[in-house]
């Protein structure tokens, strides 16, 4: 029976809000009200998402929202406020609220905006925005989601249930302005499709996995069929999973889970963790922290092979400093921490232009496109060298302590026997310590693909413990 597909809503004329002027105006109001310095961020975004489950539309969501954030300084004191109320009244309350809060804080000698000469925004077009993400009609968007799920369901008779197929699109604009003359803004876009099928074996045991494709431009998305088929392959290979005995064996982290290890390096190299000594990398600048062939880069200026800007690319950071490329680890040696202005001042260093900025709160530290430089081996070649080991395709839980480096997480994957993948493995943990794990990387894959702002090739790590039966 053919399904009647919902239409998308008629367009309501946009208010054409000039976010940069708005942010600059809020800064001016704050200074007028008594702030010695001020910084405002304005954001606007809209989202569309549809999930199709077992061939039928399950959820359809379409909306937009705006927000304004303000940080004010009274000398070395500061506070921040945010609001979704962009009326004149709402902005007045934002300014007076932030200033009232700043009066209850105390002086912090390291507090303050960056110095006037430091600001800047890269002039090159970074290709962060493509208007094609909204070019599909409502029925066409639903059709993308339906095809993605259908390809997964059609892949194998053991795929009999699903959490659905989805299509998402979003665009956003942001502007940042401060009282030291910086005004900048950019817009960005995203589109994605995904499938999450369930596979069931003869005993009725179920496994779920998924796959997705995301891009700044609709044109760069993988086909729904390719995504659905890959999702099915990943769910199917988990069938028959069993535990393995507790032992110490080489671990191969597949590229999509090795990303999370880089995430831990990012957290440990972040200036806030460093100045607090809350990191196993604190005080290790210039020391060997990883195997000799490991190079890790955080690049906020990168383009993807398609020509689009990377998922972590932007013209300036969360404090208005121009984006740059930082080598974090080179040939195993820690070369740079990742710093915003505050953490740099605490450490007597210069910002690496890694400030991140939400609506509320002081700037944090964010990565751009963070990656581990690829090696020469294919994933198959890495696996082929291992007599017995675990190929990890999924990690669970939060068992990473970047203060001590202790690492212990739930894992799923496939058992390696004589260089070949054999049966699926589940309900085991993999454990070690990050200080040793990065030194014990004994093979690096050639398969570096940016599926998000953090990317890693396949990595083999020796000396870790698998806990199971």
């Amino acid at each position: 029976m053919p399904e009647t597909v919902p239409q998308t809503a008629e367009t309501v004329p946009a208010d054409d809000l000039d976010l940069e002027s708005l942010a600059a105006d809020v800064v001016a109001q704050a200074v007028k009200a008594g702030a010695s310095d001020a910084e405002a961020v304005a954001r606007e975004g809209d989202e569309f998402s549809v999930n199709v489950r077992m061939g039928q539309v399950e959820t359809l969501k379409e909306s937009g929202s705006r927000g304004l954030g303000l940080r004010v300084f009274l000398g070395k004191r500061s506070a921040s406020a945010s609001t979704s109320d962009l009326t004149a009244d709402g902005i007045r309350q934002l300014v007076s609220g932030a200033l009232a809060l700043a009066r209850v804080t105390e002086e912090d000698p390291f507090n303050g905006l960056p110095e006037p000469g430091e600001f800047g925004s890269l002039a090159v077009d970074q290709h962060l925005y493509y208007d094609d993400v909204y070019s599909l009609s409502g029925p066409e968007r639903i059709e993308r989601a339906r095809r993605t799920e259908a390809a997964a369901l059609a892949a194998d008779p053991r795929i009999s249930n699903s959490d659905g197929g989805s299509f998402d699109a979003s665009t956003g604009r942001m502007a940042l302005a401060n009282s030291r003359g910086f005004v900048g803004g950019y817009r960005s876009s995203y589109a994605g499709i995904a499938a999450a099928p369930l596979a069931k074996d003869a005993d009725g045991k179920m496994q779920r996995d998924g796959w997705w494709s995301g891009a700044r431009s609709l044109a760069e998305l993988d086909s729904p069929e390719a995504v659905g088929k890959e999702a099915a392959r990943r769910a199917l290979r988990r069938l028959g999973a069993r535990r393995v005995p507790t032992q110490r064996v080489p671990i191969v982290f597949s590229a999509e889970v090795a990303r999370s290890l880089l995430g831990s390096i990012f957290e440990a190299a972040s200036g806030d963790a460093i100045w607090r000594s809350a990191s196993f990398l604190a005080g290790k600048l210039g020391e060997t922290i990883a195997a000799a062939n490991i190079t890790i880069v955080d690049d906020h200026t990168m383009f993807l092979p398609s020509g689009a800007g990377g998922f972590g690319t932007a013209p300036f950071d969360g404090e208005g400093l121009p984006s740059q490329r930082n080598v974090v680890v080179e040939n195993g040696v820690l070369q740079s921490y990742l710093l915003n202005t505050y953490s740099a001042r605490k450490l007597g260093m210069k910002s690496t232009h890694n400030a991140s900025r939400g609506l509320a709160g002081a700037p944090g530290i964010g990565c751009g496109n963070l990656f581990l430089a690829p090696g020469a081996l294919t994933e198959e070649q890495i696996i082929a060298q291992i007599p017995a080991g675990l190929y990890v395709t999924g990690l669970m839980g939060f068992g990473t302590n970047v203060v001590t480096g202790d690492y212990s997480r739930g894992a799923t994957g496939l058992w390696i026997e004589n260089g070949q993948l054999t049966h699926a493995v589940e309900e085991v943990t993999v454990a070690g310590n990050l200080t040793e794990m990065f030194k014990n990387i004994t093979a690096i894959g050639s398969d570096l693909v940016f599926r998000g702002s953090i990317a890693s090739p396949t990595l083999r790590i020796d000396g870790m413990t698998v806990a199971g039966e």
Binding site: S80, D163, A278
Partner: protein, 484 residues
């Protein structure tokens, strides 16, 4: 577990009517638009949140921030379909536009919502500020300054202390096409302490927190700034002498309180009705079957006064309740929202929750805990020859489809010959939800709820929750350390 006397509170509703110019006739028009293309049901969810946070760091009050947000989410249900749209602009034009957008999920003749709303009397589980919402910041600063002092005084190896206080007030108003009408004002606050300890080249961390839906007077006893600060400091100092955690299957004793996160991960999520309606949970079809040892009774209870996970009404306007999930080994029921209740022909357990007005509600937990048993905690420990005693945890996670769950111990000790010996380094524990509770062989008489620190994530939506448990012994569980 008392439920204070029910009493309607017209103040919650008046707030939206006065501040945003909402009227009953506007609500009816929006619901009419929402059902203009048919559909079974529509609801409007108005939300206004004010959040404030303060932080002391290195003995300096370094940070203070506040945020205000308001918006409305409009939902239309048609069979198994959900259409959703939201707006942060509460003008009649924008609300009606959002209603028309959500309406497009259905395709049929327009339906008429029921005219006239009925607001049921609701519980009164938490205090609501009367009049304005001007916080006494000095009193709040005093809490974190006291925590800072206590943590630094604990041991001279404590080298960094950060204490923070966060408070929010969330007002909601829900109007539905079935005539249901509900409003609530939900306070929530939390005090947190984070410390770093250092001895020679070794650095460790410790943290503790507490809070709930109550006023400042809750920060006494085990939630006092001094107690929480000492707990954080004690945890960090303890880790300085920790040995590697063992690896492999062994007997595990879990302490009372927050280790109840085991229940949240092992069974709670798997019993949320949406997963079971779709057959994607390892617990699907297991109602009436044995999923635990006979000593195990697990409930989810949203009606405990002042608790972080408690709510007078859920985010669909339904009264929360105590729901028995597992009783004496048998799986009794699921946690349901309006949609799953209707589609599965089961009772709505008042479990429909959402992170905010931008989010579609779904079945969620409130406060999930195991009822007390008969065993003395010291007898439980004494019965273990070789095992792990875990008393504090970081986060957990579950794959609801295969039932595998993890939770990460941040304070644990070896048990040797019935005695607690060396503290161990952080380790993740892993198990299988439908099986794990079958190995519960002893249940303590010391049921304790956590101090009010839990936040649960599902489909990208975070909501505050509580957990609790007495001391229990699991005859078999896998500990993911590195030791032999």
């Amino acid at each position: 577990m008392t439920n204070p006397a029910a009493s309607p509170n017209p103040g919650h509703k008046r707030y939206f009517f006065e501040k945003f110019g909402i009227t009953e006739s506007l609500l009816e028009r929006c619901l009419g638009q929402a059902l203009s293309a048919g559909g079974d049901y529509a609801d409007l969810y108005f939300e206004s949140v004010t959040a404030t946070s303060l932080g002391v760091d290195e003995q300096i009050v370094k940070s203070a921030s506040q945020g205000v947000s308001a918006g409305c989410g409009i939902r239309v249900l048609s069979g198994e379909r959900t259409g959703y749209a939201y707006t942060d602009n509460l003008s009649p034009e924008r609300l009606l536009h959002a209603a028309r957008t959500a309406a497009l999920i259905a395709s049929g003749p327009a339906k008429q919502p029921i005219q006239g709303f009925t607001e049921a009397p609701s519980a009164n589980l938490y205090p609501v500020p009367t009049g304005g919402y001007d916080l006494d910041l000095a009193a709040r600063l005093e809490l974190i300054l006291r925590a800072d002092r206590a943590a630094r005084a604990f041991d001279n190896r404590i080298v960094q202390v950060r204490a923070s206080y966060a408070e929010s007030l969330r007002r909601i108003l829900i109007a539905a096409s079935d005539g249901a009408f509900a409003s609530d004002t939900q306070p929530l606050c939390r005090l947190n302490v984070f410390v770093i300890a250092k001895e020679e080249s070794l650095t460790t961390k410790g943290s503790a927190g507490g809070g709930g839906r109550a006023g400042l007077d809750q920060f006494i006893g085990s939630k006092s700034p001094e107690f929480l600060a000492r707990e954080a400091a004690r945890g960090a100092i303890l880790q300085l002498s920790a040995v590697p955690a063992p690896a492999g299957e062994m007997q595990v004793v879990l302490g009372p309180g927050w280790p109840g996160i085991l229940l949240h991960e092992a069974v709670g999520h798997g019993l949320e009705a949406d997963f079971n309606r779709k057959g994607t949970s390892a617990f699907a079809g297991l109602i009436g079957q044995s999923v635990a040892s006979s000593k195990v009774t697990v409930v989810d209870n949203g009606t405990i006064a002042g608790r972080r996970g408690s709510l007078n009404v859920d985010d669909e306007g339904s009264a929360t309740q105590e729901t028995v999930l597992i009783e004496g080994c048998i799986l009794k029921g699921y946690l349901s929202d309006k949609l799953s209740a209707r589609l599965m022909g089961m009772a709505n357990t008042g479990s429909g929750r959402r992170e905010n007005y931008q989010s579609i509600p779904m079945p969620r937990m409130t406060n999930t805990y195991m009822l007390a048993g008969d065993d003395a905690p010291e007898d439980i420990l004494r019965s273990v020859k070789h095992g792990l005693y875990a008393v504090n945890f970081g986060g957990g996670q579950v794959d609801i489809t295969n039932g595998k769950f993890v939770f990460s111990a941040s304070e644990a000790y070896l048990i040797e010959d019935g005695k607690i010996t060396a503290p161990v380094r952080d380790a993740t524990l892993i198990g299988n939800g439908p099986e794990a509770l079958k190995y519960v062989s002893m249940v303590g008489n010391d049921l304790k709820l956590d101090e009010g620190i839990g936040t649960c994530g599902k489909d990208g939506q975070s909501v505050p929750v509580g957990v609790g448990m007495p001391t229990i012994k699991l005859d078999k569980m896998t500990v993911g350390g590195t030791g032999r």
